[in-house]
Amino acid sequence: MNAPEAEIQQTISDPRLQLAIYTATGRVMDLRAKVVSDEALPDYQALREEANAIKKHTIENLDHYLEQLESNVVAHGGNVIYCRTGQEAADFVLDLAKKRGVHMLVKSKSMTSEEIHFNERLEEHQLEAVETDFGEYILQLAHQRPYHIVAPALHLTRFDVADIFTKELGIEREEVIENQTKIARGVLRRKFLEAGMGVSGANFLVADSGAVVIVENEGNARLSTSAPKIHIAIAGIEKVIPRAQDLAVFLNLLGRSATGQPLTVYTSFLSGPRRGAEIDGPDEFYLLLLDNGRTKLLADPDKRQSLYCIRCGACLNHCPVYRKIGGHNYPWVYSGPIGAIITPQFHGITGDAWLPFASSLCGACAEVCPVKIDIPKVLLKLRAEVVEVQRREDSGGWERFAFQLFAWIATHPRIYLSLATLGSIFFPLVPHLGPLKKWASQRSVPEPAKQSFHQWWASRKPTS
């Protein structure tokens, strides 16, 4: 598919949206810069190196760590379910809900569940799934997908929220953000207390502990995982890390890179259902390990690093393309530079062939990535693959023809010379012609030399 040019144009020419994207991402850029500075975190670069080494090692031994994780989850009384597809994950949850007589579940923010259209799949079968993150709750009411990995409702103003609440909740118009938050808290509080199940994502899966680690600021993940009697965590298989002590590296990077917080407000380290005489917490715990295409990213040693991502969103915030075109013009739930490298790998290179090209290769993403994913390198590799496929399909025929024609001209001096003379006469017209007009409107086009090298050479008089 080609880039959605009309939609992109619309985003770019919407000054309110442009301001929203620029302010939100710019603010987080500043916050991040402060907390990873030399004074604030002298070991920042060392931490990145360590994070990269741990991720590389884990992904290269993924089978081992998944099995270790699995046996430790089971040892703590939890259950592990491997799911090849989103459908398998949804089917498991539907089946369990049916067995336990659950009609409503609460959900905390999870990109993995967005990826598999989890809520929609459940709702087809009359199982209500309520998003409880404030931003996600608003988006669910408005039937929109997240605009940003970390700040899902980055594109909405208080007035948009007022519209959505009035329309969907049937309440009086409320434009004050604090009050909007109170409204959501009230509605969702009842859901937390009534829900038969809580579904969360996972930021990390800890192999040596059989644990799920979730970071958040609102408390909705804590509520989703501790109020209902059943906790289900859905996570991609790449989320595993070997040891609890590795969290010293990852937690020191994640919050700082995502929102400029040394630690997010809540970090939950959960392993299995409640134990012994613990008063609250879930009676049942299920970990759904999702493939959904991830194993396809493993074979290539360069592209494999796409799976190191810890979803901090820093590459989005720093990307000149994301900051212009926003989140919804990317074809999948993962936007920005990380979306540009994982989407074509998940969906097939020809599906969204434009994505690897939607980059100036400025490298800002790689510079801020806490786990040091070399995004530009992967982009280039994917570009090469796109070109290769197009060459095979011969849709690049025109380009090839042009180069063959040039090769023929360049190897026939007389024709080359006469065309070059013609060229220097007509070249000044170039900036006024068809598609080049737009290109030249932003650039100064160099003027051709008064005399070509060949003319100069011919006119040169011998000096001796």
């Binding site: 360590e50 404030f134 409702a153 808290r185 609102e218 909705n220």
Partner: protein, 231 residues
């Protein structure tokens, strides 16, 4: 083929020969996971960065960080000074206290407005959903980030620090650690101790709309710490 077999099989096939992985580990031949493949030994030991500073400074540092986040920190000399220190917070308010023995020692559980001694989940849930304040101890506190560390146990339920709009954590000064890294050096595998360890760093907050910071969106919007110098 089960989903498990297929996913693990696909991983092994994809990694074979490209990941320094002798890909070796066919499920059948893997009788004991004690026998680690050579590639696993390449993982260096975790690096924990624990600053060597004067432990006496931790309480001040914690207080400063905790208040920067929007909390309020009290320091009292001994357990008998706790109730007077927070009397004002409790005026005209209702509260639930956890079963922590330290709270009993501080005289919290005897206060008229404090409900305590819950052992049943539904009773606890209902109480926590209706009171103004949840009172707990804290298993550890991290000075570098102003963080409270709560391990779930029969003494400390999860919901007390979560459902009420305010949370007060009362703990002895000896529970203070330097930072997250020190916590992980003391608890290398938290799952051995508890099914739930939660780090609390500031009041519940959101900035989802127009980056406007709003406190108390789902968890407590007000948090208080009381550090007791002598146990």
């Amino acid at each position: 083929m089960t989903a498990r077999e297929q996913i693990l099989g696909d991983i092994r096939k994809a990694l074979k020969g490209t990941a320094g992985q002798p890909a070796l580990i066919e499920a059948a031949s893997r009788s004991s996971s004690q026998q680690l493949p050579a590639s696993l030994e390449q993982l260096p030991a975790p690096t924990l960065r624990i600053p060597r500073s004067d432990r006496n400074l931790y309480a001040d540092l914690f207080g400063q960080k905790f208040e920067n986040l929007g909390g309020k920190c009290f320091r009292v000399r001994n357990t008998s000074a706790v109730v007077p220190a927070i009397a004002e917070l409790l005026t005209q308010k209702s509260a639930v206290a956890s079963n922590s023995p330290f709270l009993r020692k501080c005289g919290i559980t005897g206060l008229p407005q404090v409900h305590a001694g819950f052992t049943e989940r539904d009773d606890l849930k209902e109480a926590c959903a209706s009171v103004d304040i949840g009172i707990t101890s804290a298993d550890y506190a991290l000075a570098a980030t102003g963080t409270l560390v709560m391990l779930s146990s029969p003494d400390e339920a999860r919901l007390v620090s979560l459902l009420p709009p305010s949370h007060i954590a009362i703990f002895p000064r000896s529970h203070l650690l330097a930072n997250l890294d020190e916590l992980l050096s003391i608890l290398p595998r938290p799952a051995d101790q508890t099914s739930s360890m939660v780090l609390i760093t500031g009041p519940s907050r959101t900035a989802d709309i127009e980056q406007r910071l709003v406190r108390g969106v789902h968890g407590p919007g007000q948090i208080f710490a009381v550090i007791v110098d002598e146990e």
